[in-house]
Amino acid sequence: MDPFENNKLELEGLPQLGDQDFEMLPKRYFRLRMWTWGAIALLSILFICCVIAWAVMVKEAAISDFPMVLWIVLAAWSIFLGLWGVSEFHGFQMRGYAMRERDLSYRAGFFFHAYTTVPFNRLQHSEVSQGPVARLAKLCTLKLYTAGSSGANLSISGMDPVDAQRIRDYIDEHGGN
């Protein structure tokens, strides 16, 4: 057991994690995400148009014959695409990491916003991973692991590999117990 302490809970004057601490991820990560969204949106619309065209031209079905469910699914899909686009577009400013002396924080999400902080003295190990697309775009994912749950507890994708390596070096030097 730790030595007995009984300090007053001083909530004022603590170091605060604020919006100003967060750094944005590189602009090319934003472009990559927008391109991904655009490609999926375009392909799905193209696919739907093809199906409808095929039904009308080849099968000679009237548009009014299409079942209601189809329209509902289409509407839901386009709403989803729209919301996804909005969250990608506006969400990027809300995506970022904050490196402080003793911890690393990451925040992300537009509709569901969350930020997580991992103190370096609780870190078990860190990992940098890079997929083929990320390699082309010169981006990487930094993962930090702490005890107690499976999987990475903090995973920052779309980082500049140089920055990621710098953070890892800093952790190796100053972090740990």
């Binding site: 057991m1 007995f4 605060q16 994690l17």
Partner: protein, 506 residues
């Protein structure tokens, strides 16, 4: 002072006797072969099940059935003997070494300080032949745990006490003065009845019902044939009087669930004893399968109490003690925890005083209450449910009845949900309360936290509300719908404590 010496010499004696008995490579009790035999047979049957089914169908092969069975048996017996012969273990004052392997030879070394917990378990087959199992949970990367299944009771005890003593001697040279262990819970038949009666009977009843339905499938043909053999008169009577059986059926179901869950409690918690001393919490009991668990106090991460209305009336709760699961990420996914049913408030307080000493003595606790957003949100969803329910009935009377009953319930329950969700905080410990009918409170320290998460969705952001999740090595606990300013304060406070603290988190 004298008791300190006594303890040290006692623990030295425990280590020495362990070293004497297990210093040289040693095999388990010979009857452990039985376990290898049954394990291998089970594995064989399980992995070659389709093949076996094929054999059974083919007449030609079936005529050699005896020979094949004998060959398999011989093979399994030899494998079991070899496996038993190859499995050897010994200890020195720092670690335990195990050599094993049927074909490949494997040597496992377990340093005592990596051992998270030692459990003694005695299944019925072990009891029959007077043996006991010792399970060693380690904080390994691959969730490796070691199972010694065939030890004599005295051997298992010696090994366990020796390892515990050696570990505490290695980890912290300062010995605690031994106090006689305090009893947290001792379920006498009367207490056991209390715990058994206040269980959630319906849940168990539904599980059993599900099992029966699942069992019906393979025996469908038989049951149908049996039912068809009933005289027609019975069906005639049933056809006109089936509704009479509804109350009887409900009553039978309730009785069935009740008896089943009571029996379950008796088997599980028979003569349960939970004790607390300066170093660990121990729990033992069980009717058919006896168990003994120990959790060192320094490894405790979260204490969590749960209770339902009936248990609160009787003044008992169920306490679950969560232990840090592993040094690496826990891949097996199971959390190491120990449930102590039927604990009284006084015993709980005694435990808290031991594990989180500053909690009891802290003069002022800060109370965090959720935002009123929680109240409005709960109310909104309950009213929505009521509205949805009114569409399910056609008559106006029914609609009015539903509104008249559900609306007051919505208001009262939303109010209660809101009021029973709160958190009290001292500088280093916090307790999160939630639930109204089924209450739950969990307690942990800030310096044992691993990370902190703050999250909110768009609506919550607009209303200035957020969830905060505090993650320990034994799992996460979330306080929901806190005011954003308070959530940020708590966030910064937890981080400040984690980053300043020098003391071990596990």
């Amino acid at each position: 002072m004298r008791s300190v010496f006594v303890t040290i010499s006692m623990s030295m004696a425990a280590i020495e006797s362990m070293l004497e008995a297990f210093g040289a490579p040693k095999r388990q009790h010979f009857l452990g072969v039985i376990r290898y035999f049954s394990k291998n047979l089970y594995l064989l049957v399980r992995s070659f099940f389709p093949l076996l089914a094929g054999f059974a169908l083919s007449d030609e092969i079936r005529s050699y059935g005896e020979f094949i069975a004998m060959a398999v048996f011989a093979f399994v017996i030899i494998a079991a003997l070899v496996e038993y012969w190859r499995f050897r273990f010994h200890v020195d004052d720092k670690s335990m070494t195990i050599q094993k392997g049927l074909i490949e030879r494997e040597t496992i070394n377990i340093p005592f300080e990596r051992i998270q917990a030692l459990h003694m378990e005695q299944a019925p087959w072990q009891r029959l032949i007077g043996l006991t199992g010792l399970k060693i949970d380690t904080a390994g990367t691959n969730g490796s745990e070691v199972d010694l299944q065939a030890l004599k009771l005295s051997e298992a005890k010696m090994l366990r006490d020796g390892i515990m003593a050696a570990r505490s001697a290695n980890v912290s040279p300062i010995e605690f003065a031994e106090e006689p262990s305090k009893s947290l819970v001792h379920l006498t038949p009367k207490e056991l009845l209390k715990v058994g009666l206040t269980q959630n009977h319906l849940r168990i009843g539904f599980i059993a019902f599900g099992a029966i339905v699942a069992l019906y499938e393979p025996f469908e043909a038989w049951i149908d044939a049996w039912l068809a053999s009933w005289p027609d008169v019975v069906w005639m009577v049933l056809k006109w009087s089936w509704f009479l059986f509804i109350p009887v059926g409900v009553f039978a179901f309730l009785l069935f669930s009740f008896v089943l869950s009571l029996l379950g409690a008796v088997f599980k918690y028979y003569n349960l004893q939970a004790n607390l001393n300066q170093q660990e919490v121990s729990l033992r009991g069980g009717l058919l399968k006896r168990f003994e668990y120990r959790i060192p106090l320094s490894k405790v991460q979260i204490l969590e109490w749960r209770s339902n209305v009936a248990r609160r009336l009787l003044g008992i709760e169920t306490l679950r003690i969560f232990q840090a699961s592993a040094q690496e990420s826990n891949q097996s996914g199971k959390d190491l925890s120990m449930a102590i049913p039927g604990i009284s408030e006084m015993a709980s307080n005694g435990l808290v005083a031991e594990i989180f000493p500053s909690w009891m003595t802290s003069p002022s606790k800060i109370i965090f209450k959720p935002s009123r957003f929680l109240l409005y949100r709960t109310l909104f969803f309950r009213i929505l449910t009521a509205a949805a329910l009114t569409f399910t009935v056609d008559s106006y009377l029914g609609k009015i009845l539903i509104i008249a009953t559900v609306l007051p319930w919505a208001f009262i329950s939303a109010r209660k949900v809101y009021e029973s969700h709160w958190m009290s905080v001292t500088p280093d410990t916090c307790m999160i309360h939630s639930g109204w009918i089924r209450k739950k409170r969990s307690m942990f320290t800030f310096h044992q936290l691993q990370r902190v998460v703050f999250n909110q969705n768009t609506i919550m952001r607009r209303r200035g509300v957020a969830h905060i999740t505090l993650a320990t090595a034994a799992g996460n606990r979330t306080f929901k719908y806190l005011n954003e300013a308070a959530a940020r304060q708590l966030y910064d406070w937890s981080l400040a404590i984690i980053e300043q603290s020098e003391s071990d988190w596990m």
